[in-house]
């Protein structure tokens, strides 16, 4: 679908002005390349594309909506500063979510545990058929159980189970030895299974 895109930004251009240029199917690679050249509007498009995924990674790590939004925003700012390290031939989503996991890890390790989101800011859920109610309750239990784990265990689970990284990639993403990361992952699974049995 064609959509208007902002004009070039530079010395002789008004940053806030939008010129009627239409680009069809601007792909993520082009956006990443333009963002790497300092194009803020292209970076905005990347944020638009990946904000839900980054937010959810942060939400699984923190269990708190406001904290997750703040962490997602911080992750995007950090990504913008290091956008030159993004390989344009690879998708930006996993890279952004990895940054989000590290941001959450840093934030969680330097402050008190946050309360689990009570969803008070969301509209009241509509009554669901019993199977869906059970599924929702199960999801709540998993999120609760996840939040009982130390932050670095959560990070290991997030990177392995949601980002599907290998042990070596996890070690690289967390900048830790692979043996430590594996140990965290295995302990995290064990603790999570025990916690889920308690909650069930």
């Amino acid at each position: 679908m064609a959509r208007p895109v902002p004009g070039p930004s530079g010395f002789f251009c008004n940053f806030s002005r939008t010129i009627p240029v239409f680009i069809v199917d601007m792909d993520e690679r082009t956006l990443a390349l333009r963002a790497a050249q300092g194009d803020r509007e292209a970076f905005g498009e990347l944020v638009q594309l990946h904000q839900a995924g980054v937010f959810n990674a942060a939400y699984r790590m923190t269990g708190n909506r406001q904290e997750a939004e703040d962490a997602a925003q911080e992750a995007f700012l950090r990504a913008f500063r290091s956008i030159h390290t993004l390989d344009p031939s690879r998708p930006a989503g996993p890279w952004l979510r990895r940054i989000a996991v590290n941001v959450c890890l840093n934030r969680l390790e330097r402050r008190e545990p946050l309360p689990l989101d009570d969803e008070s800011g969301l509209p009241a859920p509509e009554p669901l058929p019993e199977p869906q109610t059970i599924a929702r309750e199960r999801s709540r239990q998993i999120r609760l159980a996840l939040l009982t784990l130390p932050p670095r265990y959560r990070a290991a689970l997030e990177l392995r189970h949601f980002e599907e990284l290998t042990y070596a990639e996890m070690a690289e993403a967390l900048n830790r030895p692979m043996s430590d990361v594996k140990s965290d992952l295995f302990r995290a699974r064990k603790l999570l299974a025990e916690k889920l049995k308690e909650l069930a």
Binding site: G7, P8, S9, G10, F11, F12, C13, F15, V21, R34, Q37, G38, D39, R40, F43, G44, V47, Q48, Q51, A52, F55, N56, Y59, R60, R65, E69, A72, Q73, F76, L77, F80, R81, G121, L122, A135, R138, S139, I142, R143, L157, R160, H161, F162, T166, Y167, K182, L185, F186, R189, K190, L192, A193, L196
Partner: protein, 178 residues
């Protein structure tokens, strides 16, 4: 019979065992109910995590992210282009001044302006251009004659810088809009 260790079960689940170790684990699992149950528990945990639904994002993060981005700094190409354009302007002004000096008797205000310019240290400009003798308001005729060569030099330099500057500007502008 040695049961699979916790580490082996996890690595089996993650497809991280080397082929011989995986074959050995498969052989053991086919004969050991206890290890099969332990592995099934791990697989069940994986399924539970995979079934965790995504939460909807209730606000668009784009405006706040864009507002918080650091101010754009002028790229090196732009700086070079601007320097070239500034050089062009200075070159044109100097050429015009020198040309006037050659053709007309220097007026007092003009001599003063040139004297002021001479006070600014510009390393790349020949000092002879601004050499002032006798009084601050009179430019010596030899300096005026010597500046004819400088006039050509400035004019050509200005033309070159103008061309380079515009080429860089056009290239960056086209690159940004394509």
């Amino acid at each position: 019979m040695n049961h699979l260790t916790d580490s082996q079960r996890n690595e089996y689940l993650d497809n991280a065992l080397a082929p011989p170790a995986r074959a050995a684990a498969d052989a053991h699992l086919s004969a050991c109910d206890s290890c099969r149950r332990a592995l099934a528990d791990l697989e069940s945990l994986t399924s539970s995590l995979a079934a965790l639904p995504d939460e909807p994002l209730t606000r668009n993060l784009v405006p706040s992210v864009l507002a918080a981005l650091p101010r754009p700094r002028l790229a090196l190409g732009w700086k070079l282009a601007l320097a070239a354009q500034a050089g062009t302007g200075i070159g044109v002004i100097l050429s015009v001044l020198a040309d006037w000096q050659v053709r007309f008797e220097p007026q007092e205000w003009l001599a003063q302006a040139v004297t002021t310019l001479a006070a600014i240290k510009i390393p790349s400009l020949p000092a002879s251009l601004f050499t002032v003798h006798h009084s601050p308001f009179t430019i010596h005729s030899s300096a005026i004659q010597a500046s004819t060569a400088n006039l050509v030099f400035f004019a050509l330099s200005a033309l070159l810088l103008w061309g380079v500057g515009n080429a860089v500007l056009l290239r960056r502008r086209n690159g940004a809009s394509s």
